[in-house]
Amino acid sequence: MAKISGLGWTTLSVDLSDGTTATDIRNDVTSFEFATPRGVQEVTGVDKSAFERLLLLADFSITMKGVFNASLSHTVFRTVSSTSVARTTSLAIASQTLANECLYTDYSIERSDEGELTWESPGVLSDGTVPLWA
């Protein structure tokens, strides 16, 4: 039975290296962000052809940060350097879900002066479609 939370942020799961087994790593994640194109006007200004404009509009990236956990998030990201697989990344907030296919490009682990062991993993959308909330 999954834990039910009254909080807005209820799920954050990323596939293992097989690209299919979703693993909920919400408990380890301290920050999660999506960078998207800001709007249409700017995009039109920086390039000429419609095709290129569409490519730019699909320019999304993702960054996750969290607390190192050998039995949860590490099982997901430890294979980032050895596999290139699109991993479904699902976010559930306020009963809405956002699911994307992402390619993660790094998994950096750092120990701070205070002794905290944290990680950071950036990725990009792998299929070029705009992720939509459902």
């Binding site: 962000e33 960078a35 194109p37 249409v40 306020a94």
Partner: protein, 148 residues
Amino acid sequence: MGRPLFRVEPKMPAQHMQTFKVTAPISTHRRPATCEEVDCAHQRDGWKMIIDQSTDLGRQQAYYIKELSGRHYKATRLEDGRFELIFTAGQKCFAQHTVSLEREANYLVKRGDYRLPGGTVRRHTRAEDWVEEFSEHQDKLKTIIEKG
């Protein structure tokens, strides 16, 4: 700071991007926890460490474990001169675990992306509002892409 992350460079300049971000910082959203609380495998099953006393780190580890830690272990000298320490189950491991305080996260909308730090434009107090803004934005992009 650690090494720079390996990222795929975005095609658009930072000022033409915006970021939707959720944060739950360690300092405000997590607290230290015991091995029991996180079901620590080292405590449950015991664990093994290999220590190389020919290095400064190894000597410091050995001193700490022997004189200060109070943990029970069995030491075996390996063929290459290093020591293998086997710690019995049921002891507190050496990691500092933390658990989430289950506090509501911060829901932010920022200018730019990772290349343009700072610049929070809006801070939503309700997750619903953040999702709505994000969702409307995505819809707008999708409509344009479909128009071609």
